[in-house]
């Protein structure tokens, strides 16, 4: 099963990167949002440092939302999704592959981008490992739930706003834990419980989100 799954991921990466700038837009957006915050808060070092975790997480959520609509959209619009769902590969695997490509083209790139953004927000180097680990779970979780949201809104006339309204509430637990983990790291408090809870959220979403999205896509195909 892994061959076909990675064929889908590899094709998504190749086609997206083949279109040039599109692949990196998430990263630039992320760094820009962080810099806008840093600039808008002026030179108040203490204020920026205190808000740093919140700013990083807000920027990560916004940049992931930016590309969610396109998780299935291109394959849906050109009929490839139909043929994929009519292949012997299970819909769960197809959806999981799509979510993995979304993460590789967005969330995964935010980890190095966060390293670039950290000095802008006066985040000390000691807090970086925790921030990165927490962002790793957070971005994976966002791609899973975002892929579910994109599946639910596929074919609707204006999916953008609907998608945000569906995905953001689902994302709040991860956002809370991520913010708390980062705050604890900055205050040099124990971070383990927050990271473990983040990992647990991710592991719960890992089988469930693709399963729900698969049902949604199959139903969508059979009713269109």
């Amino acid at each position: 099963m892994t061959g076909p799954l990675f064929a889908i991921v590899a094709r998504d990466l190749r086609l997206t990167l083949g279109r040039g700038s599109e692949g990196l837009v998430t990263v630039f957006f992320f760094v820009l949002v962080v810099s806008v915050f840093a600039l808008a808060l002026g030179g108040d070092t203490a204020l920026v440092a205190r808000a740093a975790a919140g700013i990083i997480w807000t920027a990560a959520v916004l940049s992931a939302l930016l590309t969610l609509e396109s998780v299935y959209h291109r394959d849906y619009a050109d009929g490839t999704l139909d043929l994929l769902l009519l292949s012997p590969l299970s819909p769960w695997h197809i959806v999981a592959a799509k979510m993995l490509s979304h993460w590789l083209l967005g969330g995964a790139l935010l980890l190095p981008a966060a390293l670039v953004a950290a000095p802008l927000l006066f985040i000390p180097a000691a807090a970086l490992p925790v921030l990165l680990l927490s962002l790793l779970f957070g971005t994976l979780y966002l791609s899973l739930l975002g892929g579910l949201g994109a599946a639910l809104t596929l074919g609707s006339r204006r999916p953008g706003v609907l998608l945000v309204v569906i995905v953001l509430p689902l994302y709040t637990p991860m956002l809370l834990l991520g913010g708390m983990a980062a705050a604890a790291a900055l205050a040099e408090m124990p971070v383990r419980p927050y990271l473990l809870l983040q990992a647990a959220l991710f592991l719960a979403a890992l089988p469930l989100a693709p399963a729900a999205a698969a049902v949604s896509l199959t139903t969508n195909m059979r009713s269109s």
Partner: protein, 218 residues
């Protein structure tokens, strides 16, 4: 005499289809043995595409049974059914324009777990007369060349049942000959073909079913 690869049978019993609130057809019955061809005819909107999609389970049926080797495929949610058919949509939008012909086929060869894929891809391209365009991006293909590539994908899948929606669209005479040869080879191997077309291809033992609402067909 070609080697017989497939020996499955397909039969329809009183299949009906409703789209929206409209009854497209009902009491559709037909049967196909290994090597059989069923041409679906009927006016635009009679439900030819819908019937093909019902066989692929991409559309719900309103009533009836479709038996594959005697087993109703409409009741058991068995993903293995998807390995039995190759589906040709009426348009060729699903080809990725940025990829070459070979890359397009390679993706599906991996997805379908085709053994010996490089040789199989070359054979499928050759069968539709696309060998010289194998490494050309599909974005510069003409409508007929795209159709040939979609048909090469059907050949590549090496499965018992071909579900073809308007296979002759945009094809020139040479391509129609190539498709007829490919179809003959598929049938000689024991395969089955269901196609929706207004053409009258010259194929031995072809059955034609006329789809129309509230009428017993075939």
């Amino acid at each position: 005499m070609a080697k017989r690869l497939f020996s499955s049978t397909l039969s329809f019993a009183d299949v009906a289809c409703i789209r929206g609130n409209r009854l497209l057809f009902q009491n559709f019955s037909a049967s196909l043995a290994a090597g059989g061809v069923l041409r679906l005819a009927g006016a635009n909107g009679a439900g030819k595409t819908s019937l093909l999609r019902i066989v692929a389970r991409a559309l719900p049926h309103a009533a009836g049974r479709i038996l594959w080797d005697g087993v109703n495929i409409l009741e058991n949610e068995n993903i293995a059914h998807n390995a039995r058919f190759a589906f040709l949509p009426a348009d060729d939008r699903d080809l990725k324009l940025l990829e070459t012909a070979r890359e397009n086929l390679h993706f599906w060869a991996v997805l379908w777990c085709i053994e010996n894929s490089a040789a199989a891809i070359d054979a499928a391209l050759a069968a539709m007369g696309l060998s010289s365009l194998a490494d050309t991006p599909v974005r510069v293909f003409s409508a007929g060349q795209k159709r040939r590539l979609s048909l090469a994908r059907i050949i590549l899948k090496q499965c018992p049942l071909w579900l073809l929606d308007e296979p002759f669209n945009a094809l020139d005479d040479a391509a129609i000959d190539l498709l007829s040869q490919a179809m003959a080879a598929h049938l000689a191997a024991g395969g089955m073909v269901m196609m929706a077309t207004h053409h009258h291809p010259d194929i031995k033992n072809m059955q034609t079913a006329h789809l129309a609402a509230a009428q017993v067909a075939a």
